[in-house]
Symmetry: D2
Amino acid sequence: MIIVIQCIDRVGLVAAITGVLAAQQLNIISLREHVDKAENRFFLRVQVEQEVAPAPIANQLRAVLPPEAVIVVNPLPEKRVVVMVTKEYHCLADMLIRHYFKTLQASIQAVIGNYNTLQDICDRFEVPFFHISHEGIYKETFEQKISEQIGQFTPDYIVLAKFMRILSPAFVAKFPGRIINIHHSFLPAFAGANPYRQAFERGVKLIGATAHFVTNDLDEGPIIAQQIIPVSHSLTAADMMRAGKEIETAVLAKALRLVVDDRVFVYNNKTVVFE
Amino acid sequence: MIIVIQCIDRVGLVAAITGVLAAQQLNIISLREHVDKAENRFFLRVQVEQEVAPAPIANQLRAVLPPEAVIVVNPLPEKRVVVMVTKEYHCLADMLIRHYFKTLQASIQAVIGNYNTLQDICDRFEVPFFHISHEGIYKETFEQKISEQIGQFTPDYIVLAKFMRILSPAFVAKFPGRIINIHHSFLPAFAGANPYRQAFERGVKLIGATAHFVTNDLDEGPIIAQQIIPVSHSLTAADMMRAGKEIETAVLAKALRLVVDDRVFVYNNKTVVFE
Amino acid sequence: MIIVIQCIDRVGLVAAITGVLAAQQLNIISLREHVDKAENRFFLRVQVEQEVAPAPIANQLRAVLPPEAVIVVNPLPEKRVVVMVTKEYHCLADMLIRHYFKTLQASIQAVIGNYNTLQDICDRFEVPFFHISHEGIYKETFEQKISEQIGQFTPDYIVLAKFMRILSPAFVAKFPGRIINIHHSFLPAFAGANPYRQAFERGVKLIGATAHFVTNDLDEGPIIAQQIIPVSHSLTAADMMRAGKEIETAVLAKALRLVVDDRVFVYNNKTVVFE
Amino acid sequence: MIIVIQCIDRVGLVAAITGVLAAQQLNIISLREHVDKAENRFFLRVQVEQEVAPAPIANQLRAVLPPEAVIVVNPLPEKRVVVMVTKEYHCLADMLIRHYFKTLQASIQAVIGNYNTLQDICDRFEVPFFHISHEGIYKETFEQKISEQIGQFTPDYIVLAKFMRILSPAFVAKFPGRIINIHHSFLPAFAGANPYRQAFERGVKLIGATAHFVTNDLDEGPIIAQQIIPVSHSLTAADMMRAGKEIETAVLAKALRLVVDDRVFVYNNKTVVFE
């Protein structure tokens, strides 16, 4: 059983929380606690050997924690996700494979594309694909259609797997802390369009990718994971893009694994990640 | 203040330990706990905001823990180390620099060499160097001289910074869990002599180094840290050795930092490292 | 146009080779040459801007090179591969995705499995799958059936994507330097069965994977690529296996890309890789 | 013997160059050639087995190359460097150690500091230290004193080992392509002051360092080498700075090794690095 807690810090929180568990004869296998002193914020993730009914434990924990505490007891082992895409396949295909072989630790409810390019690959895995074009309609209407479609599937998370349209603050506000994006760059370097071209022209020796939660500034949300790969003068801009796709796929997969495993806490514009 | 505890696992340990701290109004900034189920072994490291007298806390903790528990409260910020060397300078020089600039988190009490090759570099940093040759004397006598010399300095740890003589079980037994060695290989690959030549001949694409505690089998102790670097066909065996020295220096520095920061627990032939 | 050459080294080879190209007004974009002095062996890969008929160039090159020289001019951009599997999907699925999206730089002609576990995923990508069971028949017969099946497809390379049967010297001899295997370990460490269990029990801090050409000793062929990932005490043996599958997939993909891009030379038990 | 050549690209250059070498019965051990098509620029580095007088070879090469070709035959094995520092020791100390043990492949002629903080460490290695303060004088005067001092030592390269003053275009113009800087950031991210604070506040999961040649924009010169290390929420801004110093030291050491080994070509604002 996993329990995650975030709240204002104060003396005695760990003792209070683990006291509740000990009283139930629950054995702690692994515990991570971190306090952000600057924010006076408390983050805890504990794994308990036994499985018991979550509700009573949650209530007992609530009784010993600050009223604003966010407490999740025994989160679902398998989260529900909706994936949004445009035309690039690499991140989606990797997720579909893991979904199909039951190693995603999440279940892909549906895929929404603003082009139908990736319909076929979804069909091959019998994952519902919905083509919602952005063309010829107001952004407001486009996003309205998307959120209605998403609404059908009540996902825990929405994964932007190379979805190339900027989402409006209104849309983002509907899913606070639940939209995960893979940015094709080692943020904050090369934010914005065509980062591989930028990297190529700058002659950098490393390129990277960044997975982050989406806030109202697409490239500025809390960072979940980042990785890089070395590159050299011998790569063309196209080679860099290919290499970039590899790293994007790896980083998004890692970020999603951390998130669905309840190892990522968000506060202000940062994350606490108990890897 | 740092507190580290290792003992048999049982229900309620974290609650008992943190209860003691809470009763003293001590605020936990960071806590890591791990249980090795196979061994039923409990490992905990906690950082507390305040500084208080260690003895009373230690006694209160002892009262709530199994009798065999190992409890260290507020370990010295700066450990005492004696370094043993042969002829290679790279690891020693890196330690001397950090020692000199007070970033080693440890204090080098003395350096013992079975050759005098590295006397001069120690002199330049005013670190006592003792030349104890292994030549023409029994190993028993050689080790006796070394342990007497070490005894003068009551070190917390003995660092084998490319010390190329195999130490006897009798010697190792005098300093259980306190001798740190850097092995010039990614163990368990290429254990034994001339690993770079072996790696070169095998045509591997990565070479590495391993820092470990010394047990009676020199290359088989609990591993603290390992790192690798990529190599290619274009490197000669000599190039590989040079590259290997870089990685040896980095790994030993990392391992020492983890150990002196009380982040490494040893049990049986393994380590728990709270990085 | 790519030209790769391997032969005995002697003075003037690069001048002779590039002289032939210059006489044809061919412009060299990229050239890599390496001599293994110990073996007195010459390796060269050159990329020429223009595309011309290979045969005449090959003949002119042959005229200026030692008779035993291996010369390949303008290798096919897309190699033909047959994949052999057992039950694990991760490497095969990654290859199928790249095959489907035309980014494998190779074409998967067929998949042969000694179990039918992976029939379905192949069907979804319309790649022929042949189930050839090893059960109840002599190894000789088993391998005979496999090589007949392979024969249908005249592949350039045979990729063992987690094929868990040991192949006989007789089988390997049929495809010299053309069988690529992914070994679930950072060779030479943990050769043999269950390396993740071994790694877990040894308490290593890194695990890796190795892609190599198969020779008569399954785990001892020339190494093409190796990578590692850090692991810690917090991983179970099962976690290590999962992490291992990720790195196996990445390493095999990298190795295959290098091989089909004609960047890998094999000589004796080593490789020269012009990355 | 090493030969490096940079010039406008045209058909037949490799044949012409290697023809000259073959005529002298010189055997090529290793050759790297790269053409930047966008710039129509040719870069070549060749290692020849034998050692012969450079002048005649250089003249013969000049006869077959474009007039503007830059040709260096048999560069000095040991380059002369002057190091400029402020107060931080880590990069300088690493260089002094390598200098002392003759593994720098370069000779430190002198160290110039705008503070005298690092006088003592230089004295310990008998390397001349010159304190030239920037205080109370015009920048012009300050730089004038520095370049006069540098002039005494006719260095091949000037290494800014954490020299924290911005150099004027006039100063930089005196040493074109010969000033190497280590930037405490993964450029282009976090250019400018206090990058670790910026990285900490942004909550990035990787921090890095960049070694580059200095042009008139201090942080925008051609990049020689970059590396990163993972970081996490558990690091304070001070921890990040410590980690950053480690990576700065490693990257500057690598960059200097590449440069003094004549593996780095500069053209426009990029580098070609034959690792």
